[in-house]
């Protein structure tokens, strides 16, 4: 019971007031108590108390959590439901390994760079063509397969390790992340473009690996640590001249900056190095807002209505909400419209979209409707997983909006 013993006081602090019901989308959309934060917490407590043996239903309750973190900001008692779920997942992993689904493909694939590339291509290429043959099956469990983009070649193989500029003012280390490397390589190019247009030299280590978030989320701390150590050592030892470690994926960003500290809390000898690394991590919009963007260089000829979706890891992880909005509004002729519940989960939530697709599809449908209500032409966001999820939802609803990363929107505003 070790892991749960560590969080027992927090488990016991939940006084079942139900305040988190409104926060928890998996509850709101199902009306099922075991899919609520309060329900999950009481179940974890029952396991900790030895009153419940973890079984399949328990695993479902624990694995279906979006880890969106909304409950943590809503609870008047300061109980962090998402952290308790993380502890429960770790506990499950220690008891008997991870639930078969997670073990079988997704997590192992992410841990190995080679297999990951193949996985993305398989899913986007071959898998797509097979599934496409099945009439009407455009959406595999709510995921828009037909339009699932795959990079022809990983981004890391498309670019040199160093991209120089004429008068470098900054040196930026670019942590690309799995999605931008294998799927949305165009967005990675946009990031580089915006950085170089703003006098940043960009360093892109070729041997970077998955940040470890997916494994961490499912309780596999060992693999997560291996990846984290590799990432930290790569950037700090081999590329120490990079002033910052920049990522354009909010999820990676939150993992690199916050969760690495938690992950290595039990390794005091390595921890100072981790701290050094974490302090260097910056998300794309945060960084651009910080160094300042020369507005006079931004061009845009036709009026554009834009709205912004806050990824969970951006709003509650990195706590960055102003910067992307400010950057978008710097672009000429942009009419910015805020959507209802902009800061709520889009339903992607890592592997949830594949394994608990019924709820996640409902969550995405709500989001899609909120987007529609703004009459925006374009939805900007800061996380590739959200981008894919949102575009899928929008296409499925027969709507027209285009989803782009803030970096893409900005890159388009620079003349080549």
């Amino acid at each position: 019971m070790g892991v749960l013993a560590d969080v027992y006081e927090m488990l016991n602090t939940c006084n079942k007031c139900g305040g988190c019901h409104t926060a928890c989308k998996t509850y709101k959309l199902t009306g099922s108590e075991e899919m609520s934060t309060r329900g999950r917490i009481q179940l974890i407590k029952a396991v900790a108390d030895g009153k419940l043996e973890p079984n399949e239903e328990y695993e479902d309750a624990i694995m279906s959590c979006l880890l969106c973190g909304e409950c943590a900001v809503t609870c008047p008692n300061g109980v962090h439901g998402n952290e308790l779920v993380m502890a429960a997942r770790r506990d499950l992993k220690l008891r008997k390994g991870i639930k078969p689904f997670a073990k079988s493909f997704a997590l192992k694939t992410l841990a190995s760079p080679k297999r990951l590339g193949m996985g993305f291509r398989l899913f986007g290429g071959m898998g797509k063509s097979v599934l496409n043959k099945i009439d009407g099956l455009d959406y595999f469990r709510g995921i828009d397969i037909k339009n699932f983009p795959t990079a022809k070649k990983p981004f890391l193989e498309q670019v040199p390790e160093k991209i120089k500029v004429q008068n470098p003012k900054h040196k930026v280390g670019f942590y690309v992340g799995c999605f931008l490397n294998h799927s949305l390589d165009q967005t990675a190019h946009s990031v580089v473009k915006v950085l170089t247009k703003n006098d940043c030299e960009v360093i892109i280590p070729k041997d970077q690996v998955c940040c470890g978030l997916p494994q961490y989320c499912y309780g596999d701390y060992e693999t997560a640590k291996t990846n984290a150590r590799k990432t930290i050592d790569t950037f700090l030892d081999k590329y120490s001249d990079a002033e910052v470690v920049l990522t354009a994926c909010a999820s990676c960003g939150s993992m690199l900056r916050h969760d690495y500290l938690k992950l290595f809390a039990d390794e005091p000898s390595y921890l100072p190095k981790v701290k050094l690394f974490c302090d260097k991590v910056v998300e794309f919009s945060e960084y651009m807002a910080k160094i300042g963007v020369d507005q006079s260089k931004l061009h845009n000829s036709s009026p554009l209505t834009v709205t912004y979706h806050d990824p969970c890891h951006m709003v509650r992880g990195l706590k960055a909400t102003k910067q992307p909005r400010e950057l978008l509004q710097m672009i000429p002729r942009v009419d910015y419209k805020e959507m209802f519940e902009a800061n709520r989960c889009c339903g992607a939530a890592g592997l949830i979209q594949a394994f608990y697709h019924e709820v996640s599809t409902d969550i995405t449908d709500q989001k899609t409707q909120n987007i529609k209500d703004t009459n925006a032409d374009l939805v900007a966001t800061s996380c590739p997983a959200c981008m894919l999820r949102l575009q899928g939802g929008i296409n499925k609803a027969g709507q027209k909006q285009k989803v782009m990363h803030v970096a893409d929107v900005m890159a388009n505003a620079y003349e080549d």
Partner: protein, 458 residues
């Protein structure tokens, strides 16, 4: 355990995924806002009135009891499963059938969450006045089950005052409609008012006709800060004596100011002994006069009086107040909520009584009150794992109830009786009155099928 055949029948009625019989599911429907828990044989979530009727008939055949449940936030043990019972959860009956702004009526299913209804109404510039602090989670069915109150009830009344009519499935499986969309009462008994506040022991509500009001054109929110909670209670009595009826008159003591500040950072002074949140609403031109009068009364005793200037400030004040119950586990993990209510003029005496109980029993009590209604929620904080302490808390709770009765008050203002307050009910009512309760229960539910053991034993 439910037999395979019964489970199969239930699944035929409501669909596979709306029946729960596994241990995990049962565990999560076994608790509510109290420290109690129980385990049902199953949980069934209907989506239509017809399904509810079928369930009632099947359970009658099988001699299984039904425990109705909304969001399970009640503070009286009202949804704790009894022996050999099935929980009937209304959280999947969430349709808002109609919002009729011409006739000031909305027709909703019982599982609609109070807040979700408010959001829809606000789009049409209307609202539903009963607003328990749990309104973001609690359902209309639960609100009427407990006859809930809220901050606005001083001026606007409680849930009962906004129920125009109900569709009810009776314990014999027959469906009746009480009242309707008309404001004038119907001929005959006022059955609506018998069902409202009956905590699910008389009938299952499947449709609700609620009265709605246009959002007032203007409102002002004020804060009065005091050194001592007794001082704040005096202002309450003074305002009432002056014949002024604010929309709300809410009190929080130092303990609650601090626990809610930890959460909201609204900027309430942590060293204040108590705060009164006072709100008035109406026509814009009436606001200044009312604020002035209240300010004059409060300033006689308060150490500070101020009017909230921005909407953000108002929001923060309300987030603080609404999270009061929720926030106390920051101090101790368990709490007992009391719900005593006294005539408004006795409010200062009741505050004195609470302080005395805290001292006599050596327990930590935080006070939050719908002060305008004379409704106090002394929250006794403790740790349920400590048996001895728990005993002391029970004794202190009893003393609080007795104190309220001595002041011509009641043991429960808005949280209901359920299991928790049952033992005090015959202290408040005469044997003849208790018998009248039982007779009403028997006439609706002769075989004691709905929510047995709540409020009264037969």
């Amino acid at each position: 355990m439910l037999s395979q055949a019964v489970v199969k029948r239930l699944k035929e009625i409501v669909g596979e995924k709306n029946v729960v019989t596994d241990k995990v599911g049962l565990l999560t429907y076994g608790y509510d806002g109290t420290l109690l828990s129980g385990e049902a044989l199953g949980v069934v979530s209907p989506t239509t009135t017809e399904q509810v009727v079928e369930i009632v008939k099947l359970m009658n055949e099988q001699d299984i009891k039904l425990v109705p449940r909304g969001a399970g936030t009640n503070e009286s043990g009202g949804t704790i499963p009894s022996e050999k019972s099935v929980v009937i959860s209304f959280t999947k009956m969430t349709k808002i059938h109609e919002i009729d702004t011409e006739n000031f009526v909305a027709v909703v299913e019982p599982g609609v969450i109070n807040f979700d209804l408010q959001v829809e109404l606000a789009k049409k510039n209307f609202y539903f006045p009963p607003d328990p602090s749990s309104f973001k989670a609690s359902t209309i069915g639960g609100n009427l089950g407990e006859c809930s109150g809220g901050p606005k009830c001083f001026k606007y009344g409680v849930t009962r005052d906004y129920m125009l009519g109900l569709e009810v499935v009776l314990p014999n499986g027959k469906v009746i409609q009480t009242g309707g969309r008309n404001f004038q009462s119907e001929p005959g008994y006022d059955l609506t008012r018998i069902i409202v506040g009956s905590e699910g022991i008389l009938g299952l509500v499947t449709k609700v006709f609620v009265r709605i009001l246009p959002i007032p054109r203007a409102k002002k929110t004020m804060l009065a800060l005091y050194d001592k909670v007794e001082d704040a209670s005096q202002t309450v009595a003074d305002i009432v004596a002056a014949g002024i009826i604010p929309t709300t008159l809410e009190l929080m003591d130092n303990l609650l100011i601090n626990t809610t500040e930890d959460f909201t950072h609204a900027g309430l002074p942590r060293d204040a002994g108590a705060v009164l949140i006072i709100e008035v609403d109406g026509y814009p031109e009436d606001m200044d006069g009312q604020v002035k009068t209240i300010g004059e009364i409060a300033s006689k005793i308060a150490k500070e009086f101020k009017v909230a200037q921005t909407a953000v400030e108002v929001d923060q004040i309300w987030t603080s107040r609404r999270s009061a119950f929720g926030s106390v586990a920051r101090v101790r993990p368990s709490y007992g909520v009391n719900d005593i209510t006294v005539p408004r003029s006795n409010f200062p005496k009741a505050i004195g009584g609470v302080l005395k109980v805290a001292k006599d029993f050596g327990v930590t009590i935080g006070v939050v009150a719908h002060a305008g209604d004379g409704n106090l929620h002394p929250l006794i904080l403790f740790d349920q794992r400590n048996k001895e302490e728990t005993e002391t808390v029970h004794a202190a709770e009893q003393a609080l109830c007795m104190m309220a009765l001595d002041l011509e008050g009641t043991i429960s203002g808005e949280h209901g009786i359920g299991l928790v307050k049952k033992k005090y009910l015959d202290k408040e009512f005469t044997p003849a009155a208790m018998e009248a309760f039982r007779k009403i229960k028997r006439s609706f539910d002769p075989s004691n099928r709905f929510n047995p053991g709540k409020i009264i034993d037969l």
